[in-house]
Symmetry: C2
Amino acid sequence: MKDFRHQNRLYYSPVEFAMNYIGGTWKMPILVALREGPVRYGDLKKSISHITDKMLITQLRDLEEKNMVTRKAYAEKPPRVDYALTERAKQALSVIDALHAYGAFLMKEEEITL
Amino acid sequence: MKDFRHQNRLYYSPVEFAMNYIGGTWKMPILVALREGPVRYGDLKKSISHITDKMLITQLRDLEEKNMVTRKAYAEKPPRVDYALTERAKQALSVIDALHAYGAFLMKEEEITL
DNA sequence: CGGGATCCATGTCGATACTG
DNA sequence: CAGTATCGACATGGATCCCG
């Protein structure tokens, strides 16, 4: 596999490229939380345990820039903002599910109980 | 999903747990390089572009400790050591393939040509 | 949501033991 | 010396966190 660059960053493989879109501690939890449809900021925060506002905002901005989520602001009396997955992000869900299943498999092997 | 800990580290999800076994810059490239069977250290180094000895050894040790690879040393004149995948690591290959495919899909969307 | 601290993954450079 | 496999000290940059 030849190297390539995108937006001035060097990648060694498609896997590394993919991880730029869904990797890191928070991107996958966010994408999963949006799986069933648009969710407002506050609910997103509640549904992802341990995430700080800083991280949630930072990652949402990053995902937006990468066209993985869309942000919609409604002109209502109490302002409302929600986030939704784009098509390309929806296609990541099966990959995330596979990772989740593999993680569960490893946990079983390591005899981790919840 | 409840949190859990393993060897004194805290995890928030099975995905995060899985990434501990196959994540980082080098683990997947290493696992893929071992896909067809045992490979010796030197060949591994040659087949993974840009990897340094330091990173290769560090990751191999880590993968060994996690029971993802086995190390076999032969008592020969020029020392020979080879590494092979364990069963649990072989089961990661399909996940890695899925990530690879998703990365390729994103690259196509971003119009990246090699 | 910013500033600043910090942690951790990664990288650089150099050195090791062994043997033909 | 050349080839193989490996390791340690240290630097650095990015990711993440705490605080206000």
